[in-house]
């Protein structure tokens, strides 16, 4: 029976059983027939035959067992033989195993990351039913959900099983260890049932605690409990001080809890104690909900929309400007939390796929080259009785062994890589700490290994079966057939193309990153330290007191030795802080009619030296001076974006603007224009900015002020000095968010930098693999054609010509590979366009440099074997093998 039949019968054991059954049945029939012929009656004949037959079931079992045992034995034999073969050619085995290790290792690591970040479900029960709901402000399309809308949704919805609202918050924390500023979230009582978590200790908030006059209670996160309370099992009912008030701890969240909002990383949760239905002082909330069983997002959207429309009528007329024409938006929570990263991660995954493919192509072409040498061995085995199918299977087994060894090592490599990424990546994406090699990653590695081993193992195996070997007459020396050579060349060309695509992509990303880094940020981030100070309301109830505090603080830090300039600001650039937006009308400009629909600008309150500290150039007019205080006329400075938006390029100095929606607000004079500061990041245009002196501010600096210090002193010392000054002025006010502007800039670029480096890494690997491939195959080619080369030298070919002759083969491969690679890049690089900053995917410089680099490396890889060829001693080569 051929291999095919045997496999088929093993797999379809019922077929086998049927076969055996049929055979036994026919045997029995023949026996009965003979009995009848010998004179027995039909009945007796049958009885005798059946009795003689013995136990049919046992018979079938034994027959079947023969198959399985024999099969296992032959597989073991193949494995043993495969190991021996690999040991006999150590250089090939080493290169092949190393290639597989690299490819599988990196693919598994990347898959683990992609899986953890993108595909793994959020750590909430039935997370696919969680949604984020919001109403969109009609002018800015910002998500702002007013309190009364949330209350209406909560009370009137028919599509949600649970709904909750939250806000971010910070508190001055004291009473346990050093005072600090801790991030927190204010949540409604329904938060826990919406998200679906239970505390590991204690309880959740009760409805009573949600009331505006409810108790001061708090729930800790596991991390905060560990860091601040040392995992004290008796932490419940302990007290801590927040913003000068005493809070009781009533619960601890489970470890691994992740707040369902990327922007908020709270250390504690407190109840949202605010009159939510108050429609005079409206609170803005973020809302999450859990869909009921079987309800779609569309249905929930229609439901909430209907409720919002009805609620609109309840608002007082003064808010109509903000609220009329708003729409409701529902987003699946999973999409919201990880959607950002989908594209870059998928691109990285594809790049890795390329590297894997190149690795496999490498091994395949090496095996093809090796297959020629093994032909005598194959022929001998065939002569001894091995079937063709058996040989194929043995080759496949050997290949699988190779890939399995490589894969095992690769998984170890992946493990190490993932550990590294975990620690390095914590800043860039929120779930970095949960990345780990799990059963899915292992399954992926196993499946990929098996697929590659079988697919790429079939090529040499099938080739052995089909192509004929040309024998040099009378010598037994084998040369490769043209078919085999062409196949190897095709494989190499494919490898080179893939490598080029990766190189081109890497080149594009490098250029894009380079362009980004050169962008004029509008300020000089070196040697600038920032730190935030927030004053507790209980200790500084009046705005004047806060301003006095900051005035004094500013003077004192300015006087610190080594400080060039010091300033205060309400918002620090590059921190992703929430900007305060105000509607602005320009006096004398048409359209300055309806205050409600005035276009928006971002308002920053600063001290006079702000522009000096940041080294932002003043383009026209002047900046602020100490003369601009609350006793002088109100002034403002605007940036270039503001001029473009509001004044269409006209000279703004001495114009006046009305910076709020109130009907009779005091006009403010514009005294200067400064350069645009890219506050949101280098890759984003600057926002429209309006600066006011902070002591002319009409609203209290609710989030405190940030200090900016330009100084050459190292940041640690300087930060300590600032803390001392703050402490000396008024104890117990924490100094937090301390970092240098350089650091902030680096962090804002971190994700792009990581993508670029990953891509460059993969491109480098691809280049290396392609070079190894060219080198390996050329070496084999030279070795196998040494006879031919010997003849050429013997008849007078110079070493130089031999070198060129051998090199021309490599050159052809490289040229073809580069050309098809360029074609491929033109088609494929559009997919990374979203990762590029102001760089076209068809950037000629990147493409050309990639092509040149690849060609150069390829030629170098080919030169070594070519050189060896030119050195072949014709006498040695012509001797019979």
């Amino acid at each position: 029976m051929s291999l095919y039949n045997r496999f088929v019968s093993l797999l379809r054991s019922c077929q086998l059983e049927q076969d055996v059954e049929d055979e036994l049945h026919s045997h029995l029939e023949m026996h009965i027939a003979e009995n009848v012929e010998a004179g027995m009656s039909e009945e007796d004949a049958r009885r005798e035959a059946t009795a003689r037959f013995g136990n049919k079931v046992a018979l079938k079992e034994n027959t079947r067992a023969v198959y399985i045992v024999a099969w296992i034995e032959s597989v073991l034999q193949d494995l043993r033989f495969g190991l021996r073969t690999l040991r006999k050619s150590p250089s090939f085995s080493l290169v092949a195993v190393a290639t597989v290790t690299l490819s599988i290792g990196i693919s598994t690591a990347v898959f683990t990351i992609v899986n953890s970040v993108l595909l793994r479900h959020l750590p909430y029960p039935e997370a696919n039913r969680l949604i984020s709901a919001t109403t969109l402000d009609p002018r800015t399309h910002l998500p702002v959900t007013p309190g009364p809308d949330f209350v209406a949704w909560r009370d009137q919805n028919t599509t949600l099983a649970a709904i909750a609202a939250y806000n971010s918050d910070d508190f001055n924390f004291s009473g346990v260890g050093e005072p600090a500023r801790i991030p927190a979230a204010d949540v409604t009582a329904g938060f826990f049932s919406t998200v679906g978590i239970q505390p590991q200790l204690g309880r959740i908030f009760s409805a009573a605690e949600e009331e505006p006059n409810g108790d001061h209670v708090a729930i800790l996160t596991d991390q905060f409990w560990r860091e601040r309370f040392g995992k004290d099992p008796n932490v419940l009912d302990r007290k801590m001080t927040l913003e000068g008030h005493l809070f009781t701890i009533i619960g601890v969240l489970p470890s691994g809890f992740r707040f369902p909002d990327n922007a908020i990383k709270p250390s504690i949760l407190v109840p949202l104690q605010y009159p939510l239905s108050d429609d005079q002082r409206i609170i803005i909330l973020s809302v999450i909900g859990r869909l009921k069983e079987g309800v779609t997002e569309q249905q929930a959207l229609a439901d909430l929309d209907r409720i919002s429309q009805a609620t609109l009528r309840r608002y007082p007329a003064k808010f109509m400007g903000f609220l009329a024409g708003r729409s409701v938006q529902i987003t699946n929570l999973h999409t919201l939390l990880v959607g950002d990263l989908r594209k870059p991660l998928l691109i990285i995954m594809s790049a890795v796929g390329f590297v894997l493919l190149i690795g496999c192509l490498n091994i395949t072409s090496l095996q093809l080259a090796r297959a020629v040498e093994r032909t005598p061995e194959m022929e001998m085995r065939s002569a001894l009785g091995a079937k063709r199918g058996r040989l194929t299977r043995q080759l496949l087994t050997e290949n699988t062994l190779l890939y399995s060894l490589g894969a095992a090592l690769g998984v170890c490599l992946a493990f190490v890589t993932v550990q590294a990424v975990r620690s390095a990546g914590a800043k860039i994406f929120p779930t970095a700490t949960t990345i780990s090699i799990d059963q899915w990653a292992l399954a992926f590695a196993a499946v990929v290994t098996l697929l590659c081993a079988l697919l790429f193992g079939l090529v040499p195996a099938l080739w052995l079966n089909k192509t004929r070997i040309i024998r040099n007459p009378g010598e037994g020396r084998l040369t490769t057939s043209r078919g085999q050579r062409r196949l190897r060349k095709i494989l190499l060309v494919a490898e080179v193309s893939l490598a080029l695509v990766l190189l081109a992509a890497a080149g594009l990303m490098i250029r894009s990153f380079d362009r980004l880094v050169r962008v004029n940020a509008g300020f000089n981030p070196s040697h600038v330290l920032t730190a935030r100070v927030t004053l507790a309301e209980t200790e500084f109830p009046k705005v004047e007191e806060q301003i006095t505090f900051f005035d004094t603080l500013l003077q004192r830090v300015q006087a610190l030795p080594g400080v060039d300039s010091a300033a205060l600001t309400s918002t620090v650039p590059l921190r992703g802080e929430q900007l305060m937006n105000v509607g602005v009308r320009i006096e004398g400009e048409p359209g300055a009619t309806e205050p409600k629909f005035a276009p928006m600008a971002s308002l920053l309150s600063i001290s006079p030296d702000y522009f000096r500290a940041l080294q932002t150039p003043v383009i026209a007019g002047r900046g602020f001076t100490d003369a601009d205080n609350k006793n002088s006329i109100p002034v403002a400075v605007v940036n270039q974006a503001f001029v473009r938006k509001f004044l269409h390029g006209a000279d703004p100095v001495t114009r006046r603007l009305l910076p709020s929606a109130r009907e009779n607000s005091t006009p403010v004079s514009i005294v200067g224009v400064v350069a645009d500061v890219r506050d949101g990041g280098l890759d984003q245009d600057s926002s429209v900015q309006l600066y006011r002196p902070y002591d002319q501010a009409s609203t209290p600096a609710a989030f405190g002020m940030a200090i900016l210090l330009r100084s050459r002193i190292d940041s640690e010392t300087l930060a300590a000095a600032v803390r001392r000054e703050v402490e000396a002025l008024h104890g117990g006010q924490p100094v937090f968010d301390v970092s240098t502007m350089d650091q902030l800039l680096r962090e804002s670029l971190a994700q792009r930098r990581l993508s670029m480096m990953l891509m460059a890494c993969f491109a480098g690997m691809a280049l290396l693999l392609a070079a190894v491939g060219i080198y390996g195959v050329m070496s084999y080619s030279v070795a196998q054609r040494s006879h031919e080369i010997g003849i050429r030298i013997a008849v007078g070919c110079s070493p130089g010509r031999v070198l060129r002759f051998v090199l021309s083969e490599a050159t052809w491969i490289i040229v073809l590979g580069v050309c098809s690679g360029l074609a491929g890049s033109l088609w494929l690089t559009r997919f990374i366009a979203s990762l590029l900053y102001k760089t076209q995917p068809f950037d000629p410089l990147s493409m050309i440099s990639a092509a040149v680099l690849l060609a150069a490396i390829g030629l170098v890889a080919g030169i070594v074997p070519a050189y060896r060829a030119s050195r072949v001693d014709p006498i040695v080569a012509l001797r019979a093998e």
Partner: protein
Amino acid sequence: MGTTDQLQGTLDLLILKTLAQLGTIHGYGIVRHIQRVSDDLLRVEEGSLYPALHRIEQVGWITSEWRTSETKRRAKYYSLTSGGRKQLAKEQANWERVVRGVSTLIKFA
């Protein structure tokens, strides 16, 4: 017949020899042939024959195919391969050696 290695080898030998003599025959025919030619001294049980047939087929010394017999019955016919022929020669030589050895030993006892 039992299932020890030697006896298993002997059964293989009988099967191969039968096929060499008869060319192509089905399992039942092999049983009948052995019985007849050995003058009823050797009786192969179906329980041993079929596993042996399938095992030998695995190794590749015989091949099989379904055919219709003269009596219009469907049966699985076996025939020797070239490898089987070689094996037969080997087994026969081996058997003769064993027999000679045993006989010599017994004569000396």
